[in-house]
Symmetry: C2
Subunit: 750 residues, 2 copies
């Protein structure tokens, strides 16, 4: 009894129409991507090496025909049913059985289920035809081709992603044998009832949709330790078919799900059993659920801000309140971890998400240019206490509200909402990326965004909804350590900024040297030059100015780099110090500021240089460690006026103790020391006060005449507390001899 | 055949419960209000006089029982049906027939239709019990009591409206005899197809919902001149009952509906006939429709505005584009024209709306603190080319999204949308007034506003939707000629402001003396003092500072006023000049600014002083004329630095030619003259350039040494063009002798 799954063995080939059989078929990996199958079979060079990805481009315009022979299955007992179930095919496709069309669909996020009980026979041929990648008619060959579909725009080319548009069966697809009576859907909804988090009560509801006729539905809830908590049952009788069964359990003092740094991400387990009259289990559905409330609220003081006439509105709320506790969201922007999402799985997601968790992050913004991830991504976020800001697949385009587009967006968005609304980790729905900016041109009146608001309201009203990011009060950018135009550094613009949330900011660096050697041909490796593999991998001409390698900025501070290793080390130092500056400054701006999310965490392929903290597939840069330090619950911190200093100058960092921890901090002493070469200078000892939970203490400003420079041209500001070595912070800065400065500045003028 | 309506004769009385019969019943006017019925019968003093309204307050907490005896009706032929139809009962009520409950409802905007065919007999007693006014539990005795209902908040007391909460049957209620087969709904939807307005094509759709069984539906469309344009028919057969019939007509070069000042508000007529197999007409439905498109678009240059990192979003769009033409919205805020909306009718609406039309207005913002008006209001707006910005009944409160509130808001908002969505005049839906400001405390996450956006999207997606006003970029206020705190005048803050839309701004004045004598007792009339009838009618302690009489401001400029007439004339001059300044300055700020709507047009009862342009019921103040001048399609205009001048000072107004007209303006000469007493000084002659449609020309700045003052202490700047006397503008300002100024300034310090 119950259900069994059976894999199919697929081949794939291409042709120029949905009805033309491909002349050649090769073995297909499912889930996967047609490009990977074809490249493997035909021996194409690795797309990630040099400029090889260009050799893959033709594949986006072909019709790809998957084919599988139905296997011998144990003869279906009377009443059993056979289904073909798919979680996602990318992007437009049709399915045939022995030449007869069974199904036709546009959209990779809507699962499907086809009953084959009558139609199938062993030896029959299943065919799936995947259409060419969708392209808006008349659009330029860039992301705007994706502006009338729900195909993620990033694959059409971005400043950190080559144009390479995956196609194929990208998520689970199998045959499934079920009893006639089975569970179509078993969804839990947990509501935390108002009251203090400590003594809260919750209600948990099961909504089950059933097929066929059975006797009884049994629902069991287990606590996070696996102990049974409660059991409910519903007698079904005759009317069981296609009805929705609702059962409720009230919980006193439930174990709450808390984001990383605020408590355990406790998960209950729900088990739903469908029984016949003899008590035989016909079907089972198991899922986990977290009990928590999440709201977006106005920051403290938001309503008090003085404002002259004519008065406009207050900024929209962007402070997360979880289980009644307002918290500072420390996190990152998540992009597709692979050009080919078909090969993502729990292991791949886990490597990355554990790095984010280890860096004290609690919020992942899943950027609208990419995919909505597979269920194992959300399993991990649930388990790790990582809240998810989930965008719909819209980014940096004007998604015009034509009937055809609204139709596909309606279907795909409903599928996405239904798949994720019961997740503890799901914190925010968002329409997409930068849609209210000039380069997109959408507005509050855009029908696509009104539709998404409507669908979220209808299907998941208690999860916050944002039309896009940034909204009024929020900021995106800057993406450079130093703006060559204004000469301004992150150390200057960031303290002047006053956003409610920094939902994107970047800081570029080159990849590690050992990674660069894997995809840059040896003859191009050093010095990096535009036009070849470096540029293909986004080191040159990627975004504004000298991005993303930023040779000029590196030379501005350090002079010429003699080796690739030296160049990489310097660029990575700027990234690490720059990111640290932003996260710590954003935290200083609490409570008005409630969010800091860097652009970006990961990457879809090996970039030679870029803003990510982790190189593809999961190789941390030094900046990840720096960000982790800046995101510690409590840390000693300094507001530093600039990066490059000269002997004899007054060094004037301001000391802070930062805390977004849910616990109080006792008073103590913080000492500031400057390390220059072998020498060490004690700058100041600050008796910092005791702090309530989630409160910062601004401290004194050091005033210290800088000593002679050391041979390495660097100095380190070190902040330590006697009682808490885990709060220690270090900042690496430049210290030049007084006469040395002009030599470096010359490099600016070439 | 067809339908016939029969009035009922009602009495009304009150008791302390829905089941207790009132001891006394008096004649009731329907539509009307229980307060008016009771006052008339019991001889209560006029609520509008002195402080008499206080004597009406108890009525808000009573149960009001309407009663009517069913009349003898011509015996219903076989198959005919009898209905009780009501357009609106204010606010919560139940309906009984011979003691048996037929219907129960909360909400005054949802019509109802009860079939009485079986239940009724002549001599039966219909009862309607109206419940006490809704009050949020625990709320203070002010507008916050309205924050969990769809009862308009204004009745609970405002700075220009006494606390007096109407109750009763406020819109049509009658018996209706219909054939079994009849038209339940016949709604037209006109869509202007893309293309230049001149050569546009349109499609018009009829959607009819039918009851019973009939043979044929015939639909005829007549053009604005009454000539038949097209006819469509649908054969119904057996399946007619409760189906929706859709018919379409395509129109080439239709006559478009244009807002006031841009063309004719042409209206087509739709006639829907339901026929039986012999061709007998069973039922008819007639309505008018206008063919136009309305969108909210970004203003010219909106996407180009430079913005440093971190970048936020662009302002939301608030420029109206009608039939493909962007236009400047000149208009006003509309409030309930009566405390008792039950006595509003086409005549009352017409008096006011014709004044707005005559003042060159094209947009009426129906403020969310008040009611949604009766259908005759929209008939008139359709006919006069007045676009309507319609708010839902939410204002200046935090309407918490409790299940009970969302339920009533859902039903009432759907009723409102369905009633108005086919109106040509309907330009904007808006969630309500100032909901994103501190005094309300709602946010983008508020479920009530997400619900309204959802309902508007579902039922009327092509009409723009705003969550509230103001949104980012838009401004409300100021509401004073001179801010006593900063000493700043409208002449200074308005040129400095930079809003995309001024959707509220006020300028107070006293009412005409002859009106004041109608409701201020003679012994209180002069001088006005706080505490009595003047304060009850909002002259004192109404809003911030010395509002709304603004004695101190008047004294600041003019010194003491010896008579009421003098005080009124001075206050009204400030209002007129102040409003003119704002409208003209807003027009100078085109195209970034696209809207100027003063607060407010009319009033609900006679205020002694306030911001309205028209005193209750329909008495224009001088400011209405001034605003009409400022809103002419083309006018000579001046940007004037301040109001009060001194002899010998340099007078430096800047000359402008303003045009939002849809036609071009030829070049010409504009002369500026200063009139001081009997003397006249020619300041400048400006050869202004030719202008394309809807473009302003900034001109030179006058520099003129002011001459000696005249006895009246005033001067007039007059701008004239030789060719267009209708563009002439005049500005009245103060001119004081050089030594005279200190005397007036002393009056500030008391």
């Amino acid at each position: 009894m119950g259900r069994t799954k059976h894999a199919l063995t697929w081949t794939v080939g291409h042709s120029d129409s949905p009805v033309t059989r491909p002349p050649v078929a090769v073995t297909a990996s499912v889930p996967g991507a047609v490009q990977l199958d074809w490249a493997r079979a035909e021996g194409l060079p690795d797309y990630a090496y040099g400029q090889n990805y260009l050799a893959y481009e033709w594949m986006e315009d072909r019709y790809w025909h998957y084919s599988a022979i139905l296997p011998e299955l144990p003869e279906l007992r009377a009443g059993q049913r056979l289904y073909l179930t798919g979680r996602g095919i990318d992007y437009q496709f049709l399915i045939r059985l022995d030449g007869k069309e069974l199904h036709r669909q546009e959209g990779m996020f809507t699962p499907f289920e086809l009953e084959l009980t009558q139609a199938s026979a062993a030896g029959g041929t299943l065919e799936i035809v995947v259409y060419p990648a969708p392209k808006r008619e008349g659009a330029a060959k860039d992301r705007s081709q994706a502006s009338q579909s729900c195909k993620p725009a990033v694959s059409y080319g971005w400043d950190w992603h080559p144009r390479l548009i995956p196609l194929g069966i990208w998520d689970e697809l199998c045959l499934e044998v079920r009893e006639a009576a089975h569970i179509r859907r078993a969804e839990t909804f947990a509501r935390l009832l108002p009251g203090a988090a400590e003594s809260a009560a919750a209600s948990v509801r099961l909504e089950a949709q059933l097929a066929g006729t059975a006797d009884k539905l049994l629902w069991r809830l287990y606590d996070p330790a696996g102990r049974p908590v409660a059991e409910r049952e519903a007698s079904l009788g005759r009317e069981a078919a296609d009805v929705v069964v609702r059962l409720d359990i009230a919980l006193d003092e439930p174990r709450l799900w808390w984001p990383n740094g605020h408590g355990e991400p406790s998960l209950y387990t729900s088990e739903t059993l469908l029984l016949d009259s003899r008590g035989t289990v016909l079907d089972t559905a198991t899922s986990r659920l977290g009990i928590r409330s999440i709201r977006l609220v106005m920051h403290e003081g938001a309503w008090d801000e003085p404002s002259a006439f004519p008065k406009s509105r207050s900024h929209p709320p962007i402070t997360l309140e979880v289980n009644g506790r307002r918290l500072f969201a420390k996190g990152t922007n998540w992009v597709n971890p692979d050009i080919f999402p078909g090969r993502l799985n729990r292991e791949r997601y886990g490597e990355l998400l554990k790095l984010a968790h280890g860096a004290h992050m609690n919020l992942i913004r899943v950027w609208g240019g990419g995919i909505v991830n597979k269920s194992s991504f959300f399993d991990l976020c649930d388990e790790l206490g990582l809240m998810v800001w989930q965008e719909f697949p819209l980014a940096c385009n004007d998604y015009e509200g034509t009937p055809a587009y609204l139709d596909i967006l309606d279907r795909e968005s409903r599928s996405i909402i239904l798949a994720l609304r019961s997740r503890a980790c799901l914190a925010i729905w968002c329409g997409g990326n930068e849609l209210f900016n000039a380069w997109s041109g959408m507005t509050d009146q855009s029908l696509a965004l009104r539709l998404l608001n409507r669908n979220c309201y209808d299907l998941d009203p208690h999860t916050p909804f944002l039309a896009t990011s940034p909204l009024d009060g929020m900021g995106h950018g800057h993406y450079l350590f130093r703006d060559a135009g204004s000469g301004e550094e992150v150390y200057q613009w960031m303290p002047r900024a006053s956003c409610t949330a920094y939902t994107e900011f970047g800081m570029p660096s080159p990849a590690h040297e050992r990674l660069l050697t894997r995809f840059i041909p040896p003859e191009e490796l050093y010095p990096p030059e535009p036009g070849g593999a470096w540029e293909a991998h986004h080191a040159f001409g990627a975004w504004e100015g000298d991005t993303w390698l930023c040779r000029e900025t590196i030379a501005h501070y350090f002079g010429p780099s003699d080796t690739l290793g030296e160049l990489v080390e310097r660029g990575q130092l700027l990234q690490a110090e720059g990111y640290k500056c932003i996260y710590e400054e954003a935290r200083r701006q609490q409570p008005k500021c409630a969010m800091a999310l860097n652009w970006c965490f990961n990457e879809a392929w090996p970039t030679a240089a870029g803003n990510s903290l982790v190189s593809w597939p999961a190789e941390p840069k030094p900046a990840l460690y720096a960000v982790g330090q800046a995101c510690r619950p409590v840390l000693a911190s300094a507001r530093i006026p600039k990066f490059a200093w000269t002997s004899g100058e007054w060094f004037e960092p301001q000391l802070w103790l930062l805390s977004d921890a849910p616990f109080a901090v006792a008073a103590g002493q913080l000492t500031a020391t400057l390390l220059v070469g072998e020498r060490s200078y004690r700058l100041l000892a600050w008796e910092y006060p005791g702090l309530p939970p989630a409160a910062n203490a601004p401290g004194p400003t050091v005033r210290f005449r800088l000593p002679e420079a050391s041979a390495d041209g660097r100095m380190t500001l070190r902040l330590e507390t006697e009682s808490h070595p885990e709060w220690t912070s270090s900042y690496t800065l430049l210290l030049r001899p007084a006469t040395d400065a002009p030599r470096f500045q010359r490099t600016l003028n070439h």
